[in-house]
Each structure stands twice: as C-alpha cells, then as structure tokens.
C-alpha cells in the first residue's frame, strides 16, 4: 500500500475544545500546525455541552480558586493529582477571559460581567454552600466555545484537515513520538503527518457502553492509538454515569427535570429514592441516584417487559411548567421513548457520560510514562489534553462544568509546552519509525482483505452489551471477572472484522471498523482495571468493597490511593502514586466524601 509524507512543526489530532485551544497556542507562535479531525471542527462533541464552564470569577458572589480546588479534590474522591488541580483552578479565570476576547458570547449580568450559575458540587468556603461558578452562553456553551476558537484559528492560519481519520501514533524504539498516520476519508489515501510535536485531543470513548449519552463519534481513537503504541492508560475504570438517559437510546435528560420536581419510580410506582437518600431524595448526587436505580433494577423492581429501566415521572407537574422550564424534554420523550411525558412517565437508565481516565499527562500537557525509575517521565514529542487525557484532575469522579475547563486549561498548556519544546529543545524532525508506519499499513490491509471475519456492527454491539452488563454503574466481583474473559474473546473478533464495502470514498464501513479497533482497547483497559481495583471510589463502586471505619463507603486509601496504569501488551497493570502535594498551598487531606 502506498502512502505519502507531509511535514509540519506540530500535528494536533482533534478539533474539539482541547484541540482548538492547543492549536491557537502553536499557530500564534508561528509554527506550522496541522489539525486533523474526523468531522468539521464545530461538529465535535464539545457542541453537546450546555451546562457551562467553571471559573471562580466571583462575579455574582465571593469565590476563590482555592475553594474550587477543594471541591475538585473532594469530587475526585482524592484520586485527582493536587498539583494539576491547583493549576487548573488557578488558570480558570485566565482561560475564560481569553475566550471572551476570542469572541465567546457569554451570558452577562446587568453590569456587563459574565453571568454565573450554580452547578452540582461547586461550593464556597471549602464545601459550605453552593456557589455560582459556571459561565455559560445560553444553552449552547460548547458550541459557542468551538465557534470562537475556530475563528481564532482561522485568523492565525492553522491548517485544518477536515474529514481525516488518524490511524496510529508514529513512535520509535526509543519511545519518542514523531507524528501520526492518517487516512483521508474522501479518497482513502494514507498520509504520514511527520511532526516535531504531536498533540492528542480526540475526546472520550463513551461508545464502549450500550447506553451512552455520547454521540457516535466518541470512539476513543486517541486512547486506542496511544495504547497500541505502548503508552499505558490511566484510571480507565472510572466512568461517570448520568442517572437519566432515555432507556434504549441514551439521550440525556437534564438534572433540571428532577430539579423541577420530577420523581423516579420503580415498577411498584414507589418513589424509591426516599429509601436511599431521605433528605435529598431524587436530587441526591449523580452517583447515589445511579446506584439506587441500578439496585432497584437488579432486585427485580425495574419496569417494562424486561424490567430493565425505571420511570421518571413528571405527570404531576403543570404542563405549562414542563413546556416553559424544560424545553425539549417533551420532544425527547416522544422521539426517543415514544412517550408523551405530560401524560406518562419516561423510561430512564443510568447512562455512560464521561471518561475520567485516559492518556496519562502532567499539568504541562506532556504525556508521561514510568521509565528508568521515574513514575512520570515525559514522552518526547507527545502531548494530550481534554477528555482523552488524564491530567489527572477528575480523579475518580468529575464535577460538572470542570471538563470544559479542563480542555481550555490543558489544551492551552499542551500547546504552550509544545511551543517551548519547539523553541528550545527540538530543532529538527526525528526520522520516521518505519515499523510504526508499517503496522498501520498492515492493519488497513488486514481489514481490506479479511474473509470469513466478524461483522463490525454485531461485534461492537456485543462489546457494548458486555461492558454495560459487566462494568456498569454498580460492579460485582464475579461479573467483572466474567466480563474480562468475555471482552478478551470479543477482542479476538475485533482483530478479524470484515467489511463488505471496499470502496474508497467515505467508506463508512471501513471508518467504523477502524474505530472499533480503538473502542476495544478502551473496553479492555476499563474492565481489566475495574476488575483489579477491589475498593469503591468515586464512580467505581463494587459490591464487595466493605464499608468500615477504616474503609468508609468501601474506599480503601491504605491500599488503593493510587492511579491505575493499564498496558495493552499482556493486559498488564501497574500503579503510580497520587500527587497529594499541590503547587503552592497545603495538601487537602483525605476525608470521607460526603455532601
């Protein structure tokens, strides 16, 4: 198979929030920068974000980055690295104001300052009471953000390669990175992007689960590419589930529905949250509600022919309230559940929403791996930011509005560090590693020539169902172990997928088969890491983790206050310490996470 080589100073894979932010940094500094993206930049998944971006601007009431930092550490169930968290929270105001200068149309107060609203888990004065910290642009925050940053990139001459699919990282025997291989979807042509700096900003992999709020595009490509190139994946057992995705479809029903008085009911019509959270009831935190729902379903009180969902009831609310305060919900019910929510309750299940783990990085956006006795040695030429990366600021559980912040801060940071490296350390392109290129060619060849192979759609579905059942919201020892075996079997099928359509132009069958190669790496990393971690922490909750005074809610700091590292080779696990020391302030000491 033929390929051509194109040279750039920097290549960025991904044009969502993280990729666009990183690109601004490089292009502004005058470096020749290519941004590859599977879809037009402003159709990246960041568009779906509505809630807003966190920053302790204190425009409506007193706020402080140190309070934000405390909330984030606590939210992370102490698995987040405190240096990276301090860095992010301190940088928040700067990146938000920058965004404003790029033209982001934030909602405003009468005095012209950015309007801020409260969001779950964000508090003032070290956990005292809710604070207004989220900055939004109506219900199109993510979309407005991408527009502002895309325009800025056009101005500073970033070169976009739209509808290109990156296939593999080019990494040599010394472990250094010198670009990516990619396919032009329009022609099927393969090109090697040879670069001095390579930044991954490919977003999350929420599609490993059957029920996911993520768009189809979220297939974890960067994470899969990194794993294939021998980079370990960090904390992949931690996935945030949103309690209310429409059963069978995944479409998110916002927390606002319960905020307005929506009630969750089981098959007996019981308002079961009264038993699990007598005070907060249906408004308890995401993980508590998700687990309660799962318990109801597991104990046979689910609804529907297969008893596999619960009901979100708003039929008692005045129709005017629903139509006015919850626009879109009525339509979502009709379109995706066949239910008129004014008259009937909506079927909902806890649904995969956000990937906390990813490619290990430090707060500078450098990808780091254990090497030569150092736990976090930067990989030369390789950076990552956004949902595909693990800085780690979200630890075991992300706070809402912190991921848009994450991609701004670490997107910028990755770009800035790359600029510094280009200026001071990396003067020339390192020769391309031929064997890495050959591996991509062999992978595409294999797919094109496979006979009697596995069907892509069916194999993906088998993976998604297995993940949902064996590594969902609530995890069981035996189920996890079984799930590992099952996922390994499915990985065998993924290695033999077959496509019927062999055409060149926008061959969606081929694109999806190549995406599945990435999804399966994420699925393996997730289930193997989850199987090994025998405690409960944040979003990872196991039935066999004992709640005792030493291990409150099953969290076992003595043994498990550490990051997981999963290596693709041999499905092997390693661990590294959590960075408990912030940059300038005192450590936020371990405590039981209670709200």
């Amino acid at each position: 198979m033929n390929y051509t080589v194109r040279k750039f100073d920097a290549v960025i894979v991904g044009a969502g929030g993280a990729g666009l932010r990183a690109a601004i940094q490089l292009s502004e500094a005058g470096y020749k920068t290519a941004v590859l993206t599977k879809v037009f930049p402003t159709r990246s998944h960041t568009v779906a974000a509505q809630g807003g971006v966190a920053a302790s601007l204190g425009n409506s009431e007193e706020d402080h980055w140190h309070w934000h930092m405390y909330d984030t550490v606590k939210g992370s169930d102490w698995l987040g690295d405190q240096d990276a968290i301090e860095f992010m929270c301190r940088k928040a105001n700067e990146v938000v104001v920058e965004l404003e200068h790029y033209g982001m149309p934030f909602d405003r107060l009468d005095n012209g300052k950015i309007y801020q609203r409260p969001f779950g888990g964000h508090m003032s004065n070290f956990g005292e009471k809710p604070v207004r910290r989220s900055c939004a642009a109506a219900d199109r925050t993510g979309h407005a953000m991408l527009h502002a940053m895309y325009q800025r990139n056009v101005k500073v001459n970033t070169q976009f390669f739209v509808e290109w699919q990156a296939l593999d990282l080019v990494r040599d025997a010394e472990g250094d990175v010198m670009g990516v291989t990619a396919m032009d979807m329009e022609t099927g042509e393969i090109v090697v992007f040879h670069a001095k700096a390579t930044i991954f900003a490919t977003g999350g992999a929420g599609r490993i689960y059957y029920s996911s709020t993520n768009a189809f595009i979220n297939t974890g490509d960067g994470v899969g590419m990194a794993a294939r190139a021998g980079i370990p994946l960090e904390d992949m057992e931690f996935w945030q589930f949103h309690p209310t995705g429409v059963a069978g479809a995944g479409v998110l029903i916002t927390e606002g529905v319960r905020g307005e008085g929506g009630i969750l009911r089981n098959s007996d019509g019981e308002r079961f949250m009264e038993r699990y959270a007598p005070n907060a009831k249906d408004l308890a935190s995401r993980d508590v509600v998700s687990r309660a729902m799962t318990t109801e379903i597991n104990e046979g009180r689910g609804c529907g022919p297969n008893k596999d969902f619960v009901l979100l009831d708003i039929t008692h609310l005045p129709p005017e309230t629903i139509m006015k305060r919850l626009p879109g919900i009525h339509e979502i019910g009709i379109q995706f559940a066949g239910v008129d929510c004014l008259k009937e309750p909506l079927p909902v299940v806890p649904t995969c929403h956000y990937q906390m783990g990813g490619i290990p990085t430090n707060y500078l956006g450098q990808v780091v791996v254990p090497r030569g006795g150092n736990q976090s040695e930067p990989v030369l030429g390789f950076y990552a930011a956004g949902e595909c990366a693990c800085a780690s600021v979200h630890g075991a559980n992300r706070l809402g509005t912190n991921s848009l912040l994450d991609l701004l801060v670490f997107g910028k940071s990755a770009g800035e560090t790359a600029v510094n490296d280009l200026k001071n350390n990396v003067k020339a392109h390192k020769p391309l590693a031929q064997d890495a290129i050959d591996r991509t060619l062999a992978r595409v060849d294999r797919l094109n020539n496979q006979k009697d192979g596995a069907d892509v759609h069916e194999t993906r579905l088998a993976m998604q169902r297995t993940m949902q059942k064996h590594a969902g919201v609530f995890r069981f020892k035996d189920m996890l172990a079984e799930g590992v075996t099952r996922i390994n079997e499915i990985a065998g099928q993924v290695a033999q997928t077959q496509i019927k359509d062999k055409s060149k132009v926008f061959n969606t069958a081929r694109i999806e088969a190549l995406e599945l190669d990435n999804l399966i790496e994420v699925a393996k990393a997730t289930i193997v890491s989850a199987n090994a971690r025998t405690e409960s922490r944040g979003a990872h909750v196991r039935d066999d983790a004992v709640d005792s005074p030493e291990t409150p809610d099953g969290r076992n700091d003595k043994v498990w206050l550490k990051h997981t590292l999963w290596y693709r080779e041999g499905n092997r696990l390693d661990y590294k310490p959590v960075q408990m020391k912030p940059m300038s302030v005192d450590t936020i000491e371990l405590k039981k996470r209670a709200y």
Binding site: K38, V39, T42, R43, S44, H45, T46, V47, A48, R140, H143, E163, M185, E186, S212, T213, N214, A215, F216, I217, V246, A247, G248, A249, G250, V251, L252, G304, P305, N306, D308, F309, P327, G328, E331, I332, I334, Q335, F336, A337, G338, P347, D501, S503, V505, F506, N507, T508, I511
Partner: protein, 89 residues
C-alpha cells in the same frame, strides 16, 4: 448500487455523524429505511439540511422550530416520522 451513487451516499452518511446523539439516532433510522430509495431530490434536500449547525438542525427535527423552505420541510417531515423510538430489550 453504482459506484457513483455509493460514493454520494457514503459521503452523506458520514455527514450525518453529528455532535448530538439525538441527531445520530435520527439519521441512523433514516438510513436504515431510505438508503436504497433516496432519490436525487432527497439527496439534495438532505445535503442542505446537513449544512446546518447541530442545535439548529435538532430544533427543526424536534419540531421546536419550523423552516420556511419547502424542500427542507419535506425532508424534516421524513426524519420526524421515523422517530427512533427506543428499543427496550
């Protein structure tokens, strides 16, 4: 399917990969039903719809907003009538 048509359909299909899951689900169903029969007029209507921003497109498909363009309106009607009702398994 001719090679030409295959290429055109594949391109449209890829452009149906959107940032919002709502739209992905709608288009998934659409292709299941119309891949074989979509005519040139349908292709053109779909193509111009796909130029829209995701939130605007979803506002049309979900019926919150209405388009004045009759060609687009017919396509939106088609997308709406095959609402991808969840399959409870």
């Amino acid at each position: 399917m001719t090679e030409d048509r295959r290429a055109r359909i594949n391109r449209l299909k890829w452009h149906c990969r959107r940032a919002l899951l709502e739209l992905d689900l709608v288009f998934d169903r659409f292709w299941e039903r119309y891949e074989e029969t979509l005519d040139a007029q349908g292709e053109a209507a779909l193509e111009s719809l796909l130029e829209l921003e995701d939130h605007d497109l979803w506002a049309l498909v979900s019926g919150r907003e209405i388009t004045g363009d009759p060609r687009m309106a017919a396509m939106i009607e088609r997308l709406r009538e095959i609402s991808p009702i969840a399959n409870f398994e």
